[in-house]
Symmetry: C3
Subunit: 147 residues, 3 copies
C-alpha cells in the first residue's frame, strides 16, 4: 500500500471559488492501482467543494446564493472580531465541506465530466490557505477493477 | 488489504431522494475485517445523503425545505442553460454531499437503526446517475475490534 | 497497516455543539506513520462538524443561524412525531455532516490552529449519541512525508 501526503498552498484573491483540480490531478499522477484522494482544508473560513466546472456563471450564482443566505453584517451575528464577513465565513464553511474524498484509479481522479474541485475562500480579503492532500492506493486483485 | 470497487447505476424518477442502502449493503457482503465504504456521485446536480428512513414524510419535508431555500426559477440566478431547475440543482448539491464514507465491519455497514443512504436527484427530469463505490478492509488484530 | 476502531459515546446536554476534539486526539495517540481518522455519527438528528474553537460566540451565532434557517415548528413541516424540533433536526443534519475525515500524522490530528471537532445535537432534549471512530495508518516510505 502506498500513501502519499502533500500540502497544496493556495493564495486566494479574496472571496470566491478557486479551482484546484489541476494541482490535485498532478498529485495523482503515477499512482498505480485503485485508491482514494482525500483533501482537508485547515481553516474554518475557507472550505472545499465539488461544483460544475463548465459555465463560470454557476460559481457567480452560487456566491450570490451564499451571500443572501448568510449576509455580511447580518444583525443576527455577534462574532465580528475580524469584520462583517467573519461569522458569515464560518457559516458558509460549515454548510459546505472541510474535507473531500475522491476515488482514484490508475493515476486518475475518477471525477465526472463536469466536476471541478474548488477551494472556496469565504473572507473578502486574500488569504493563504493550506490543503492537506492524502492519496493512497493498493493493487487491485481478485476482486477486480471498476464496474 | 482488500479493495473492492464497483459502479452503482441509478435511474432516477426525477427530483427526490432514491434509497440505495440495499445496493450498498449488497456490495459489503462477504468483506471480512474492519474497513470503510466510500460512495461518490459523479454529477453536480445530484448528491448523496444519509437521512431518516422510517417515515417517508421526512423526505417530503426535506424536499419542501430545499425548494424554499433554493427555488426553481429564482431571479437571483442567471445560469439556466438547462432550465429553471438547473442552478437550484447545483446549489442543493453543494449544500448536501458529493461523497459519503461509512464504516464497515464484518461485511456490514455500521449504520444506525434509522439511517438510510440516498441518492438525491435534484433535477426535475429522470436521469441516469453513477455512484462509484469503493470498499476496503483489513483484518483487525492487536488493536481489537469495535468499541 | 493498522486499523483502530472505537466508539465515542457522547451524552449531550441538549441542542448545541459539543466538542469532541480531546476524545479524538486521545484515540490518535501512539499511532505511527501517516493515515486518516474517520468519524461517523449513527443518528439523523445529530451531526458532526469542524468549526472555529476560540470564541464560543461563533457556536452561539451558528445556532441562531440554523434556528432561523429551519425554525422549530415551521408550518412547512408535517413530520413532527417527536415534537416541533424533530424535522428541523433532520434538516440540520443533512446540511451539516454525518461523517468527517481528518488527516493523521505521527499520532496527531493535522487540524488547523483554530479547528475543533464537534458533535452537534439538534434535538432540544439531551440524548446519548454514538460516534464510530476508525483510525488507520501505514508507514510512509519512499514517497516521503508531509509537504
Amino acid at each position: 500500500m502506498l500513501l502519499r501526503r502533500r500540502t497544496i498552498d493556495v493564495s486566494t484573491r479574496g472571496r470566491g471559488a478557486h479551482e484546484i483540480t489541476p494541482a490535485v490531478r498532478e498529485l495523482a499522477r503515477g499512482i498505480r492501482g485503485g485508491g482514494m484522494c482525500h483533501l482537508f482544508v485547515r481553516h474554518t473560513s475557507a472550505s472545499l467543494m465539488i461544483c460544475e466546472n463548465a459555465d463560470p456563471q454557476v460559481l457567480r450564482d452560487l456566491e450570490k446564493f451564499l451571500a443572501r443566505l448568510a449576509p455580511d453584517g447580518d444583525p443576527l451575528f455577534r462574532h465580528d472580531a475580524e469584520g462583517a464577513d467573519d461569522m458569515p465565513a464560518h457559516v458558509r464553511s460549515v454548510l459546505t465541506h472541510t474535507s473531500l474524498s475522491l476515488p482514484l484509479g490508475a493515476g486518475e481522479l475518477l471525477l465526472g465530466t463536469w466536476q471541478g474541485v474548488y477551494l472556496y475562500e469565504h473572507r473578502l480579503a486574500p488569504h493563504r490557505r493550506q490543503v492537506i492532500a492524502t492519496l493512497w492506493s493498493v493493487d487491485e486483485k481478485g476482486e477486480g477493477g471498476s464496474g
